[in-house]
């Protein structure tokens, strides 16, 4: 521990985000008398330029050599404040943050208890930072090749984008053809342009590019290494394995459609004229808008939200189905002007550019709209003798409050999107987290929408959540831009945190050797000592916790840092 270190403490109000519940001035007064604390300030916005300048000025004028910032989560602003320290010539690792927003002011109502907690967390950070040591960041080369996983619209877009910036791309697709789910659509909403046109252009550019190696019928089976230096193992359908050295991985694995047989009352799988939206797309593309036995349908019913916005199946909205259903209204009416089209929906979500306009145009085509209660989907049954249709769709209609039988020769189910059944496997291999519905989780929902918890692994398109083609394309290009930013820098900065062995303390018991999942620890039989290969170490600290001789230590998460932090959070608790 640095006994005579000089600590500056900064407590952020975050406008009213923190100040509303936590009394930052009081916290500042509580900690200002603690050993080694040279100054303590409460300030409106610590992450603002004037806030950061407060820190850099104090570092220079008050000769601070440690900084504590009590503010938002370190997951949000640790990089910001580390840069502030660097700007003042201080090693960035001499910073410690106390999370008094996400884990305090935003989740507690009682100002007294929240302020006490904020003071404890700040106290702990002050105790901890005294043990911090300046650490040097490491650098590594960046392999200028990218693995794009998934050959749908997102993967194709990213691959083409990267290739045009002169990057080598491996485009890996599990299926035998490129195009993904967009390749199964006929026209696209809201402008009714052809999905095939959109795709063909991308696919031919990908195929023509000398920098894109397309590997269809191939899947990713293993991913090792770290940002800039991954080794991806892919396996072809024939069972041939191949290792690809890549700097980044773009995961664009898309979605699968909801299995409509799960909602029994819709009759899918039981009545041949109940079909899914994808099956209708196929018939439209083939110019064969007819029933199962080849008749021209006079009545077409379109059922929205099949599997979506229903707590029994998927609670979320699949985003594209309302627009697609309105598009069907147009396509059916233009092919069969005499047909009656009925949209049986929950809410019409015609968001986004051109959406409301498509809704208006479809309404003008004299299609009928009937509303049903969320969680109470219509019931499909065969029509009776004397009815002039094949099926009857019974709707508990919300606006009229009546139970209505809608005639239908063809029932189209707008099946929602769901996470692919193999998303758990992809997540495990690539180190991405999934939400309860199975969608991949981005680093930050607003500020880092295509990054993941694993640096160098990005997500784009529907594997992250349901979205339309423009949003998938935007994400794919954003992910490509993230990769190109790394390429432009040429080298990769690796975190300075890793485990190390104190040779004098190591007893050579080899307990740590087996624990490391990255095989970063090796044993020198001659010296009878274990040692850590720092480039392979990812700093989880599992070996450190297991070392019986205390010979292993985790840089920036050392025992004495954490011990003092424990004492810090508890120091005042007995007095309250």
């Amino acid at each position: 521990m640095s006994e005579d270190c000089r600590i500056g403490v900064y407590i952020c109000n975050c406008g009213t985000n923190i100040a509303k519940v936590v009394n930052a001035e009081w916290v500042s007064a509580q900690v200002s008398g603690l050993p080694n604390v040279v100054c303590a300030h409460a300030y409106k916005y610590m992450c603002s330029n004037p806030g950061q300048e407060l820190i850099t000025r104090d570092i220079r004028e008050q000769r601070l050599d440690r900084v504590v910032v009590a503010a938002s989560s370190p997951r949000m602003h640790e990089p910001t404040f580390r840069k502030a320290l660097e700007a003042a010539g201080l090693n960035p690792y001499l910073l410690e943050m106390a999370n008094i927003r996400e884990q305090c002011s935003w989740v507690h109502d009682d100002p007294r208890a929240a302020s006490a907690k904020a003071a404890d967390l700040t106290h702990a950070a002050i105790r901890r930072v005294r043990h911090h040591k300046p650490l040097e960041k490491r650098e590594a080369n960046y392999t200028p090749a990218t693995l794009v996983l998934g050959g749908g619209i997102a993967g194709l877009t990213a691959a083409v984008e990267l290739a045009e910036a002169n990057q080598q791309v491996f485009l890996v697709e599990r299926e035998t053809r490129l195009g993904g789910n967009v390749g199964r659509a006929d026209l696209t909403a809201p402008y009714l342009d052809s999905a095939r046109d959109i795709l063909t252009e991308k696919i031919s550019r990908a195929k023509d590019s000398p920098r894109i190696e397309i590997l269809t019928g191939t899947e990713l089976v293993d991913l090792q290494g770290f940002v800039g230096n991954f080794r991806a193992t892919v396996k072809s359908a024939a069972g041939d394995e191949r290792e690809l050295p890549v700097g980044a991985v773009l995961v664009c694995t898309g979605y699968q459609e909801f299995d409509a047989t799960r909602i029994e009352r819709l009759g899918y799988g039981r009545y041949p004229d109940v079909i899914t939206s994808f099956e209708l797309e196929k018939r439209l593309a083939e110019g064969r808008l007819e029933t199962d036995d080849g008749r021209v349908p006079r009545y077409v019913s379109i059922v929205h939200c099949v599997g979506s916005r229903n707590p029994r199946y998927h609670p979320y909205c699949s985003r594209v189905c309302c627009m697609t259903a309105l598009k069907y209204g147009h396509e059916i009416k233009s092919a069969l002007p005499a047909a009656t089209v009925t949209d049986i929906y929950v809410d019409m979500l015609s968001f986004g550019k051109g959406g409301e306009d498509l809704y208006r145009r479809t309404s003008e085509l004299k299609t009928m709209f009937l509303m049903y209660e969320k969680g109470d989907p219509p019931r499909v049954r065969p029509a009776e003798r004397g009815d002039d249709c094949g099926l009857l769709v019974q709707v508990n209609e919300r606006l009229s409050g009546e139970i209505i039988d809608v005639p239908a020769d063809l029932v189209v189910l707008m099946v929602g999107m769901e996470a692919r059944s193999d998303s758990d496997e992809v997540a495990r291999i690539t180190g991405i987290s999934r939400d309860p519905q199975g969608w991949f989780i981005e680093s930050h929902p607003k500020l880092a929408p295509v990054s993941t918890a694993t640096e160098g692994v990005y997500i784009a398109g529907c594997c992250q959540s349901p979205k339309d083609i423009p949003d998938s394309v935007a994400q794919a290009r954003a992910a490509a831009a993230m990769v190109l930013a790394h390429v432009a820098r040429g080298r990769i900065e690796i975190d300075a945190r890793f485990a190390e062995v104190d040779d004098d303390l190591c007893s050579g018991c080899r307990m740590c050797n087996e624990l490391c999942p990255y095989t970063a620890i090796s044993f020198d039989a001659e010296r009878r000592r274990s040692s850590v290969e720092s480039a392979l170490c990812k700093a989880c600290g599992t070996c450190v916790a297991a070392c019986p001789s205390g010979a292993l230590s985790a840089r920036h998460f050392t025992d004495d840092q954490i011990f003092d932090q424990i004492e810090g959070v508890l120091a005042w608790s007995s007095n309250r």
Binding site: Q103, A113, D120, L121, D424, G431, T542, R576
Partner: protein, 161 residues
């Protein structure tokens, strides 16, 4: 005044700490009794951290990691789980009620689960009252200090002797 327990939480950076942050961004209110210490992985939680927390006056200790199969470091949480079983017995040996020590899995998307967990543990500890046995750990703490000193001296002798 009603007794308010203090819980020391060790949360892994990738799942549980992020889940706790999510409880914040979603404004899911919960009891203000937890004091969190961030570790990179639940596998980093040295049993002595837990004993230290009890010795320093914690009424409860909560260790949170990624769900089995979801560990950012592949299998650190399994290591934590194995260690935890032994630790639980050891803590019981010190006369500490086993409800005061919990290992739970909280993913990055489980803000709600995290909040309910903190509420639940706080309520349990309110019923159990203060962790009276902390004083019995105090001599243990000084013993450990002495032992560490002796061990270090012995090591110096062996290596430089």
């Amino acid at each position: 005044m009603e007794f308010e327990p203090v819980i020391v939480g060790f949360l892994c950076n990738w799942c549980s700490y992020t889940g706790a942050d999510l409880a914040g961004t979603a404004r899911i209110k919960h009891a203000p009794n937890l004091r969190t210490i961030r570790v990179m992985c639940s596998g980093r939680v040295d049993p002595t951290f837990v004993l230290k927390a009890f010795a320093a006056g914690a009424d409860g200790v909560l260790v949170c990691g990624c769900h089995p199969g979801d560990c950012h470091y592949i299998e650190g949480n399994y290591k934590a789980m194995r260690r935890f079983e032994l630790l639980k017995r050891m803590v019981a040996g010190y006369g500490i009620d086993e409800r005061r020590l919990r290992l739970e899995w909280v993913s990055a998307s489980e803000g709600e689960r995290f909040a309910r967990l903190v509420d639940e543990m706080t309520a349990d500890l309110r019923r159990l009252g203060p962790c009276e046995l902390a004083p019995t750990l105090v001599p243990w703490q000084s013993d450990l200090g002495t032992l560490a000193g002796e061990a270090a001296a012995a090591e110096r002798e062996v290596t430089h002797g």
